[in-house]
Point group: C2
Chain length 363, copies 2
């Protein structure tokens, strides 16, 4: 069993109001790198931020990490276009940060990354994998991607924000199609075209991985919400029919009434887990129960594994233990002194740092 976290960025997240309100640009840029480190080490090691929403809701990566500590599964980070270096070990399949989807060719690395990720997914030795994502702004690009495929399985994708900025998302998606050569529905059976034209690099890598894993007989759990529905749609449009599971949180499921129908339409078994973050002892995790964050960083997939192991009721305590260890300086998306200059110091430094980034906007 391996949990694969695809971590990357799209400049779509920099549009005012798209991602967690009030998030600084630094937080947007560093969040996926920080999430990867939290999954790998239980704390940030190079990323200068610990992702916490402005209201104090911690990143879902701490939940995934907590379940990892309970169950001991392998975890692998795949670079889905990171804009800042991460201290987490990561696999590269050629993805680069995505541009704002209102630009004409926002994800030129998507087709190559999709192919390379698919090859990598086929080669994985595991019987079963969970695939999750961390990319601020990703629900907007997922909405555009579903529309490009002609998969109107959802009225709209979910949001990490308590108030989903649907009008804004619609405007952004509309502009994306205006500047692109693809019209809604015209990228059916052409997932690489949808990804390149109106998608993001994390969708490209996650769908390639899932397609390749399924093709080689690996069981696949898509751990997440509406972005993972877009991943499933891309897999289907790549000609891979094998059943998979969509594993998500009760918070996400409550936010998306048509989820079950959408999952069934994509040949997905649906597994919804409730980690009990409404309990008195949940502390800052209670924000999830209040509709903040809801999903992300493979949280729903990890909860599903905890549920199968009969240990779902230990997740609150385990997550609070992780939270007690992570570095948080202040609240509201703590920014430490940025050590990037020094850490990225080598003359040949292999940053992927051409572009902007994002704070996790969730499902």
């Amino acid at each position: 069993m391996r949990v694969i976290l695809v971590a990357g960025t799209t400049r779509t997240a920099e549009i005012d109001g798209i991602s967690a309100a009030g998030a600084t640009r630094d937080l947007l840029l560093h969040t996926p790198s920080a999430d990867a480190e939290i999954l790998a080490y239980g704390d940030t090691v190079r990323a200068p931020v610990t992702p916490v929403s402005p209201t104090g809701c911690p990143t879902p990566a701490v939940v995934t990490r907590a379940v990892r500590e309970l169950l001991g599964f392998d975890a692998t980070v795949v670079d889905g276009g990171l804009a800042r270096p991460t201290g987490a070990p990561s696999v590269s399949v050629g993805a680069r940060p995505g541009d704002d989807i209102r630009e004409p060719d926002p994800v030129p690395t998507a087709p190559g990354a999709f192919v390379a990720a698919r090859e990598f997914g086929r080669a994985l030795p595991d019987d079963r994998v969970v695939v999750g994502e961390t990319i601020p702004g990703g629900t907007t690009t997922a909405m555009a991607t579903l529309r490009a495929l002609g998969e109107d399985v959802l009225e709209a994708t979910s949001s990490s924000l308590p108030e989903n900025p649907l009008d804004l998302k619609e405007r952004v998606v509309g502009s994306a199609f205006e500047s692109s050569e693809v019209d809604p529905g015209r990228a059916a059976h052409a997932p690489e075209t949808a990804l390149r034209s109106v998608g993001d690099p994390v969708l490209a890598v996650a769908s390639g991985l899932a397609a390749g894993a399924l093709e080689s007989g690996t069981d696949v759990i898509l751990g997440g919400g509406t972005q993972m529905l877009a991943v499933a749609a891309l897999v289907r449009h790549a000609g891979v029919p094998d059943r998979a599971t969509l594993a998500t949180t009760s918070y996400l499921a409550a936010d998306v009434p048509e989820l079950a129908e959408a999952a069934a339409g994509l040949e997905l078994d649906l597994a919804v887990s409730d980690p009990g973050f409404d309990a008195d002892e949940a502390g800052p995790l209670s924000a999830y129960a209040e509709g903040v964050a809801k999903e992300g960083a493979a949280m729903g997939g990890a909860l599903r594994l905890a549920d199968e192991a009969g240990r779902l009721d230990e997740v609150v305590e385990a997550t609070r233990a992780v939270l007690g260890r992570v570095t948080v300086d202040g609240t509201g998306g703590a920014i430490r002194d940025d050590p990037e200059e020094e850490v990225g110091g080598g003359p040949g430094e292999e940053t992927n740092g051409e572009t902007g980034g994002t704070a996790d906007d969730g499902p």
Copy 2:
């Protein structure tokens, strides 16, 4: 407990006779990437080769992997200048493939990578780490590096070859100093200068990691042979006095009579483990007992962990189990069809592929 494998290349390995005789250039180029995958997954997943010497001796990475399967430690690959993409998750600290040390400035990324690796080593959350290496040609660059520091702790470094090509190594090291601005002994207390002028990127990353880990109070086991002595010397010349352990195999120790004295001179405790590869049931592993390979890919460190756990006598069987699973097509450094074009396919592919590489020349 975390085992950190620093994997990279130096074109020094391409000099005829320096690294495993008869190794093809493809094998030299891909071996560190393949070793990283074997540690991470128990088999190659992207690398088109399985590193096996011309006489059929398997890479020490299978031994490290076997111990990992016995004990379940975390493993992290750090990119020390890989020349080919690896499917193993890896951390980048800015190292690029090293050039032939007879060139004027063979490792320009060494100072930056040393600093970044040190920072990363400081941030690791572990109480204890094992640091190992995989870099064909690395014993020659280690010999030059020790000499640049003025550390004549060894007459010569060991070799993975049954007949250590000492005259050739001496000539290469001599040429390296001729083309460099550094004279032997003149890089004392300037490890970055030694590394950049006559070293290799794996030494830069491994010594930075070890220095940073020691500085933050982490116990450090250097898992390997004479290259790890060079790492220890670099750590001392960086002003880090904390004691560490050198953990190596009985095969390496038998090849280097002055090892104990050299280790003591660098404030290292020495731990020598015998995995019993001379046993009847050792099969192809018996090549180790006959003086091939001897060490590499953190093998000595992994054996030390097995020894502490009282499970050293299970290593032969566990290693043969791994060998039974790895992909080997033919003998003598099997080369599969090279899927690199496709796998590295993305337009923005993040290969480190500027330069040549190498087959593990061991200790």
